[in-house]
């Protein structure tokens, strides 16, 4: 039978503040020795009082703005009570009735597996039910009859983002999370690193026969520490559950863990006893009011987001969708590209016949996506560490556009620029790389090549026209790659035709 898969996702994002949500301990304890970032507040000692980290509140509002949410300007904190050793107070301070952000949506593109756009790709909108601010728990390590608790993570600001059940397959889940990850990184509010637990997601999913309305039994999947694990786990569960339903079996309401090594889900616990969290207003914290002025300040801090940038790069610079995505995946790369663009914004098209919205956008994009990315990857350098400045790459683009050098030479020049940080023009001059477009010089080289290859010339004149390319190649070689290839092509042809007469 065919089934609809219905997925909602809860994502916990650790906010990248310096200090914790309610105390001044460091919030960056990943990889640190256990319990070195702990104080009476985040260890849950009686009498210790929490104080709200303003920056964490701002970060959560920034995400709300980016996700098109309404912001609760009057909210208060609540205690969610349960017993577990990773929660030293016996309750978690969280937002329940009035989440910081609610009723928003995230729009993103669902692409093929390599990130490319094809005829199956589409734009998708997932509604965001809420995003609320809370504190993270500690970490447990189990060994024999004891468990060991590390409270470094306890009290780190955590934003829980909950979608409506608007996601219908593993690819959409992957695309949603990858878009969310891009956004938190663009906003600079979280590293978004799933491998380090800075972004943790728990999809819940159910199946129902196509064409029916009632929701099936919901399972929750945990322990997903990469985007591909999310995709793998959902695809696996969809297959497992539809096979079970086909056989007439019932789906049990359970929490599943994903075993990345074996590529299977494993039951973690049956969800029989519903928790009784006994939420009630946190008496240790006064309510939080957000003034219009504060909210405006926060709005102003939200930068242009990837999907808006992509649209603008296409309409303003005439770039392809593919190029636009490549340039905007990483905010630092996008900013670098834009600096190059603005360095050349006052210049008109150099080439009168070329219809382009920005004279150098396409060449800049090609250099960044191609040669520059290759050089950065090979040397393990990030774009804000490289020696080339955006305006310098623009200089190279201009030399190619003006046909001072050809694109083969440009590859050599960009490598030299990458290694030394020198200007393109200086490298071209110092190494004598300028393209030869002087027809008298080219005519002489062509004459030499024709004289050196009498057999090929004869065969060409007898009708073997393929030999033209051979002779052009010989001329390029003789000019050490500096000849203008279009000119060689036409001059060579003319020279050969003259011999027919």
């Amino acid at each position: 039978m065919d089934y609809d898969i219905i997925i909602g996702i809860e994502t916990h994002v650790e906010l990248d503040t310096h200090s914790k949500m309610f105390c001044t301990c460091s919030a960056n304890g990943f990889g640190a020795e256990p319990n070195v970032h702990v104080c009476p507040t985040c260890a849950g000692m009686p009498g210790a009082l929490p104080v709200i980290n303003k920056r964490a509140v701002e970060f959560s509002m920034m995400l709300g703005v980016a996700l098109n949410c309404s912001i609760n300007q009057h909210t208060f904190w609540e205690r969610k009570s349960y017993w577990y050793p990773d929660l030293p107070k016996g309750y978690q301070i969280t937002q329940y009735q009035y989440p910081m952000c609610y009723d928003g949506y995230l729009e993103f593109d669902v692409r093929d597996l390599s990130g490319g756009w094809n005829e199956q790709s589409y734009r998708k909108r997932v509604r965001i039910r809420r995003a609320h601010l809370e504190e993270d728990t500690g970490k447990l390590t189990h060994a024999g009859r004891s468990s060991y608790v590390d409270y470094n993570r306890s009290g780190v600001p955590l934003l829980e983002i909950v979608t409506e059940p608007d996601i219908f397959n593993a690819h959409e889940a992957y695309a949603y999370l990858s878009a969310l990850q891009d956004i938190v990184r663009y906003l600079g509010i979280s590293t978004g690193d799933m491998e380090k637990g800075a972004m943790r997601c728990e999809p819940n999913m159910s199946l129902r026969p196509k064409g029916t309305d009632a929701f099936g039994t919901k399972v929750e999947i945990k322990n997903l520490n990469s985007l591909s694990a999310v995709r793998g786990a959902i695809a696996y569960e969809a297959k497992r559950q539809s096979a079970a339903l086909d056989k007439g079996e019932k789906i049990r309401q359970v929490t599943l863990g994903w075993d990345d090594v074996r590529g299977v889900t494993v039951v973690q616990r049956e969800k029989e006893d519903a928790h009784d969290y006994r939420y009630f207003p946190e008496p240790d914290l006064p309510p939080l009011d957000v003034s219009d002025a504060w909210l405006d300040e926060v709005r102003a801090q939200v930068p242009e987001l990837p999907i808006a940038k992509q649209a603008r790069y296409q309409s303003e610079f005439g770039l392809s969708a593919y190029d636009a995505v490549q340039l905007t995946n990483n905010k630092a790369v996008a900013e670098w590209f834009e600096k190059g663009i603005s360095a050349g914004k006052d210049e008109g098209p150099v080439h009168p016949s070329s219809f382009i919205l920005h004279p150098f956008a396409k060449r800049l994009a090609n250099f960044i996506i191609g040669d520059l990315t290759r050089l950065m990857n090979a040397s393990g350098t990030a774009i804000n560490q490289i020696k080339i400045k955006p305006a310098q790459l623009l200089g190279l683009a201009k030399l190619v556009e003006a046909q001072t050098i050809n694109s083969n030479t440009a590859k050599l020049v960009i490598e030299e620029m990458f290694n030394t940080g020198a200007e393109a023009q200086a490298i071209v001059q110092a190494k004598g790389l300028a393209q030869v477009s002087d027809s008298s010089v080219l005519e002489k080289t062509i004459g030499d090549v024709l004289a050196a290859n009498p057999k090929e010339v004869e065969n060409y004149l007898k009708g073997n026209e393929k030999l033209l390319q051979f002779l052009v190649g010989q001329t390029m070689k003789a000019s050490k790659g500096k000849a203008n290839p279009q000119m060689i092509q036409s001059l060579m042809k003319a020279a050969l035709e003259r011999r027919r007469l």
């Binding site: 001044t24 301990c25 050793p85 004891s146 468990s147 009784d276």
Partner: protein
């Protein structure tokens, strides 16, 4: 009057072990408290905004996001009933948290 089952449930949530006598006594006392609070149901609060506190204080925040480590690990672990010198040690916690 609360049932003994309800008292058991509340006691379990607070991880309290109660004797039969205590259960009966707390059933009476808890019921009295609930009845007292129940009087609020007679008041029309339809025009009162949800109130989490009666104090006028609002939005007390830490302006600067600055780290200040108040205790060393040794000091923190002095409060641990058991520890291995690095972590708080507790009886094996087998079920997963939520």
């Amino acid at each position: 009057m609360l049932t003994s089952e309800q008292v058991n449930r509340v006691a379990h949530l607070a991880r309290l072990a109660l004797t039969e006598d205590e259960k009966q006594r707390y059933a009476r006392q808890l019921s009295a408290i609930l009845d007292y609070a129940e009087q609020l149901a007679n008041v029309d609060v339809s025009h009162v905004p949800p109130t989490a506190t009666v104090l006028p204080v609002r939005s007390v925040v830490r302006e600067a996001d600055v780290v200040n480590q108040l205790l060393t690990r040794d000091e923190v672990l002095k409060n641990a009933p058991r520890s291995d010198g690095e972590s708080f040690e507790v009886a094996a916690a087998i079920t997963e948290s939520s």
